[in-house]
Symmetry: C2
Subunit: 310 residues, 2 copies
């Protein structure tokens, strides 16, 4: 039986071996470093200490709402230091994915400005950004709307302005089997800073997949595309890398798909109870979610690391 | 191997036996009788002739946008005659479902006025009707919205005004496991009168199921709840009933679930090619979609029926 180990239960020598086995630290952001605009205690210090120990840190996020430049300033604002090169977000990877496919047509975007900016930066022609609200309660008028249909890709990311006309357009474009269908990620919810349940991009992807009766190419974790993009620029050996995340279905599965060590922290989507459930589950797909290691929060690594120098 | 037969290939004597075997005709509306506001040729005449032959006709629709009264006037406008008692729509059945559960709390509605009116008529307290657009691009402000959380059921039907704040509210209410989750139907698309692909209620249900990570109780076809509601008032023997529809996943499956004879017409969602694919498919779930009989359109039954009196 595969069991997750709390890093806290490791001896000093085991922690030393664990740290020595790692050259690359890949970490998720929402739910590990912060929730919305609130930093999670201790995470910044841990990453800073790991860097000072010579580890290379990369930020791998499914969030598509920001360009890498916008991420750099969010990191600074919340007390983290990161350069553009250390950040891998789905907005950028969607753009490089389309470029790698030699995409030259027009894309329809359900998404945010950040994603739009990365598409623009890659020279991809797109439309759809911003509100597109329904203008009437007359169903046939909405259903029979006339619009430009020369679209070669539908891109779905997080979009606060999701609306019925957007779904209608996406479904109509996707009725052409030659039209590409790309989505940033399938995260059902965001790690919330309050007691609301905050729908994530996966909610919008499920809607478009349903009305188009097609499956999107998913760019974000757990797909290994994010790792390939990173590995192209940095020569990362997955056997000497760890993936840290709060959401097993994206982060831990991604780490395992790539062949990295995995650490699940309980400051975001998944809890200790989830891990215990997967460990006793008979469903093989649950077994895939079990991380190598767990911690209540990334900050809990701080005393373990500091203890090594005592 | 299970094969669908075109009614056109039956001999006069087989048609006579077929007609004699049926006392009750249950028919879907969108895609069989009309598309949006355009009647489908011949359907009204066929139903009228069946009535004159002593058959009882009932209209069984997953569409939740209208009350039964509103349906009666749509029928009249499009050249069909129907009384309130002959119409079974999901709007009404959602209301009776909640009443049967002795529901007394407040419901949150993602849906249309018609559905709201049926809830009101049943004395069910609800809110959520109409536009609820996102008011800012500031994510934390949207995510952390404050709202009334004393909600005991989330009801999802067709809603032109679907928006992010509506999804956020539904997901948050459903995080309470005691909150009921009811949806009118899972139809992915509407039969369209133009070349747009028109997202149906299933698209919205998929979105809410994803962000709530729960499964809705589905009221509409293929669930047998619609038949139970009808059978409660009319003593219908399913063995002497036929279900006519354009969408196998709802109509034909419904007919089979109840034990009726089934007729698929090709004037809406599914085509002859779909049926041929299911017939050669090795997937058992495809086999369930194969109807007993097919016709290009319901109107094609007219000459077959008229021929019996010659």
């Amino acid at each position: 039986m595969s069991l997750a180990r709390s890093l806290k239960t490791l001896s000093k020598e085991e922690i030393r071996a664990f740290v020595a086995s790692i050259d690359y630290v890949l970490t998720d952001c929402d739910g590990v470093l912060w929730k919305e605009l609130t930093p999670i205690d201790g995470s910044a210090k841990v990453l800073s200490l790991l860097k000072s120990m010579g580890k290379k840190v990369f930020y791998v996020t499914n969030n598509s709402t920001k360009t890498r430049e916008e991420y750099v300033s969010k990191f600074e604002k919340l007390g983290f230091s990161a350069s553009k090169e250390e950040i891998v977000g789905t907005a950028r990877i969607v753009a490089t994915y389309l470029k790698d496919k030699n995409f030259t047509g027009k894309a329809y975007l359900i998404g945010s400005k950040g994603l739009g900016n990365e598409l623009s930066a890659a020279g991809i022609d797109f439309f759809g950004l911003g509100p597109d609200p329904v203008q009437t309660d007359n169903l046939p008028e909405v259903f029979d709307a006339k619009f430009e249909k020369d679209v070669s890709a539908v891109v779905v990311g997080f979009d606060l302005h999701i609306s019925y006309p957007k779904l209608l357009k996406a479904a109509t474009f996707l009725s052409n089997p030659k039209c590409l269908f790309v989505a940033t990620n399938t995260d059902e919810v965001f790690p919330a800073a309050c007691d609301n349940t905050v729908p994530g991009t996966g909610t919008l992807v499920a809607a478009v997949e349903t009305c188009s009766q097609r499956k999107a190419q998913i760019i974000g974790k757990p797909s290994t595309l994010m790792f390939s993009a990173l590995a192209k620029e940095h020569n990362i050996d997955p056997k000497r890398a760890i993936m840290i995340g709060d959401r097993a279905k994206s982060d831990i599965l991604f780490g395992k798909n790539v062949g990295m060590t995995t650490l699940l922290v309980y400051t975001g989507v998944n809890s200790k109870e989830d891990v215990e459930m997967w460990q006793t589950s008979l469903d093989p797909s649950d077994k895939l979610l079990i991380p190598d290691y767990t911690l209540d929060s990334l900050g809990d690594l701080l005393p373990l690391l500091e203890n090594l120098t005592k």
